[in-house]
Amino acid sequence: MNDAALRLSSTQFFILILAVFGATSYFLYPYLVLHSTEGSYWMPILTGVLVGVLGAKTFSGLMALHPGLDAFAVLRRTLGLPGLLLFALPFAWHVWRAMVMIARAHAEIISMTILHATPLWALHCIVFVAMFLAAGGIASIVRAAAVFIVVGIPVTVGLTLLGFSDLDFTLHEPWDPGHLSFLDSRAFYSSSYVWVGFLYLSSCGQHARRPDRLWLPYTAAAACFLPVMFGTVYLPVLTFGPAFSKVLAFPFLTKMDSISHYWLIVENLTAVFISAAILFVILTLSLMMHSLVAALRAILPFLPARPAYAIVGIGTYVSALLIPSWDWIEKGVWLETPVRLYLLALPPLVLLLARLAKGRGARA
């Protein structure tokens, strides 16, 4: 496929973002939201959505500065090499860390819930599936995404809906809109990794027909996934109560475990859920790898693509294996938060600088 001439539709961008939400929001996210506030869980979720949409909007503005180029080329053209380095280096760091965390976290979750005896090195091999997909280019990723979404979304959303069957609404917390304590919480900022999915489209700018509208598929995907996100937080709360939900490492998975219906031929829904969610993980990892390789090749143009994918894949696999425990993952998500927030704040700054430069040029 001639990737340079490839044009992706808004639906295809929507599917990619949906996959990122599917990979990131079911496991650690409910835990972080539950620990970010005392009662009004909907507020950190909605605040996250709004910040994400604003981020996507400014990011689209950045991409629209030079349509037909990816984010790295746009920054290079707008701010020169320093601008490229200011974005590409932290971006590469963030994406690499995120890939390592996601790969390790899912391997740990699988090991804890369904395959207790399988060694982690075997479970980490999904990294190589993602690497194989990423090396096929963005066209392959989008094609695979279309199939994965068709299979994965009905299963995961269907299982989420099954969770509505045994809720106890007396366990709910007050919906206090003035409860802003989550803004002081570390967990809230840590949970921002869910909302930065648009950053992984950095390498896709040249495939968008209208880069300035790239935020629309993000917003649509966020709006579609928002009820599921509420479900991941509120279903455990309305089943086990807020206090008990907070002490659970994976509140939503525990909720899945508690579902039982006489007409269901499957008893362990968690196994089915995690297995289906692995499709999103593979997709997200491949999208991240694609953007990471694009960032590396923007910094080092002489780097050939195939070895770059091999290096990134093997590097991610080895790094994920080196993480010693689940605690390190939680710490890692928090330690990586400043870089993530920096990447969120960079596009508006660049837009501002570009406008200033344009105004100065016009005056001159």
Partner: protein, 475 residues
């Protein structure tokens, strides 16, 4: 077919004078018992010879006069030539012509000869399809004769827009191949691409379109067939109208429809002749069969050996009860029965029809019953294996059916190692593999994701519908 009067034809068939043709032909066809060079008389000042391979030539093309006519001496030799055309050719052209059943008329001293189309190829008649039976739709299919196949397609599509580009493939035994496309509908870039691919083929000889497809497909062919092959002219006609091109080859009834997408392999010939709801239902049935065929044995292994807790307790107990006395692990047991089943299927395909029914009976019923009684496999697994075999026969395309047969072992091993997760990972690997494949420049997973590559800046119109406004009848 045309006939020519002896005098007029003889003036046209004057062989060019020069040395070597007859000697060259005799040298080339040395030690060939069916090669004949017959002296039929004298032409002007030289002797006249007819050279041919007696096994390929039909007797009805040349009529000899028993009674010489008045006038010139040589005019009495051949009364009449009945054929489509005649040409003049040098030694290589004459050798090639003889190999395809032509007759060369030359003098002992000529450098070039007159090639008469006298071939009488042995071929099947136009019969019912052998591999693509339908209940509703046309009931005839291609045979092994290139000319017949071209004629059958031309009879279905009576339009000058149906273009045919011909070439020959093979250096030692050349075989004729033709590329059909619709002018104004098929992408010209695609046609050029296929023509380029033909020019790159270096092979001694070709026997079937399957071989040709591998050569045209480049490096991307590993497991999946990259284009549909069919013997039905109606299917080819509708594909041509859909913007695809068709490659036919001499000596095989199967034509290639290119480019091919994964979904095309699940479309039967008669789907277009049925109502949309029925066609969609049948296609869904086939996709369900695909899923069952690939994943059912793996699912059984996963839930009875790795993820025992996934199932309801009652089902797990039933599965465990049926395995009572079976000494092997579930994975080995499943591999064993699937291997046996594949052996039975293969035996049934290869043997003569009269024997294959017996083999299937012995293999399926007797062996199946005995294998359960001997506690080698559980009866639940026999049900799983039988269902798997049944769903494999639902696959429309034979090549795709073979791919399915191989892939179920891959999925089985994945499920044996990682259980349910293994099934999903195997599914993901297959989809990733498919997402990277291209058939003649078009994504194999079309219509999922970006549809096609660009040829000269234009997107290939892969699924061109007949959206043109219906033309009114004049007058």
């Amino acid at each position: 077919m045309g006939g020519y009067r002896k005098r007029s034809i003889w003036h046209a068939l004057q062989p060019a004078p020069g040395p070597g043709l007859l000697a060259g032909l005799r040298g080339s066809f040395q030690d060939m018992a069916d090669f004949e060079s017959v002296r039929i008389g004298a032409a002007a000042s030289d002797e006249l010879y007819l050279c041919y391979l007696s096994t390929l030539v039909g007797s009805e093309h040349l009529l000899f006069s028993m009674e010489p006519a008045s006038g010139s001496e040589d005019a009495a030799l051949i009364e009449r030539y009945v054929g489509t055309k005649y040409t003049e050719g040098d030694l290589p052209a004459c050798v090639e012509a003889l190999c395809r059943g032509g007759t060369v008329l030359c003098t002992a001293a000529s450098a070039a000869g007159i090639v008469l189309e006298t071939g009488d190829w042995q071929q099947r008649g136009v019969q019912q399809p052998q591999t693509e039976n339908v209940i509703q739709g046309p009931m005839y299919a291609f045979n092994e004769c290139y000319r017949t196949n071209v004629a059958l397609l031309r009879q279905r599509m009576r339009t000058p827009k149906l273009k045919l580009w011909e070439t020959s493939v093979g250096q030692v035994t050349p075989v004729r191949a033709g590329v059909f496309y619709m002018q104004g509908i098929t992408d010209e870039g695609l046609v050029r691409r296929v023509q380029d691919q033909f020019s790159k083929i270096e092979i001694d000889g070709l026997q079937d379109t399957g071989e040709l497809l591998r050569l045209l497909g480049g490096r991307s062919i590993l497991l999946y067939p990259l284009a549909v092959t069919t013997e039905r002219p109606d299917r080819l006609a509708s594909s041509l109208l859909g913007g695809k091109l068709v490659i036919i080859m001499d000596g095989t009834p199967l034509a290639i429809v290119a480019p091919g997408a994964f979904a095309d392999f699940w479309e039967a010939a008669e789907d277009r002749y049925l109502t949309p709801v029925i066609a969609i239902f049948l296609r869904m049935l086939r996709f369900m069969a695909l899923i069952i065929n690939l994943f059912l044995p793996g699912f059984y292994v996963a839930i009875s050996s790795v993820n025992i807790d996934v199932n309801r307790l009652e089902i797990s107990l039933a599965a465990a009860g049926s395995r009572e006395g079976v000494p092997y692990p579930v994975l080995v047991e499943a591999l064993l029965i699937l291997f046996l089943l594949d052996c039975i299927v293969e035996a049934g395909v290869r043997l003569p029809r009269t024997i294959s029914a017996t083999v299937t009976m012995v293999g399926g019923v007797v062996l199946g019953q005995a294998i359960i009684q001997a506690n080698i496999v559980s009866n639940l697994l026999v049900i799983v294996a039988a269902t798997t075999a049944l769903t494999n026969f639902i696959v429309v395309d034979y090549q795709m059916g073979l791919v399915q047969r191989v892939l179920k072992y891959f999925v089985l091993i994945g499920a044996g190692v990682l259980g349910i997760l293994g099934l999903v990972v195997c599914f993901a690997v297959l989809v990733v593999f498919l997402s990277r494949l291209e058939s003649f420049g078009v994504a194999y997973l079309t219509p999922a994701g970006p549809r096609a590559r660009t040829y000269a800046g234009d997107i290939l119109p892969r699924f061109k519908r007949r959206s043109r406004a219906p033309k009114g009848r004049a007058g």
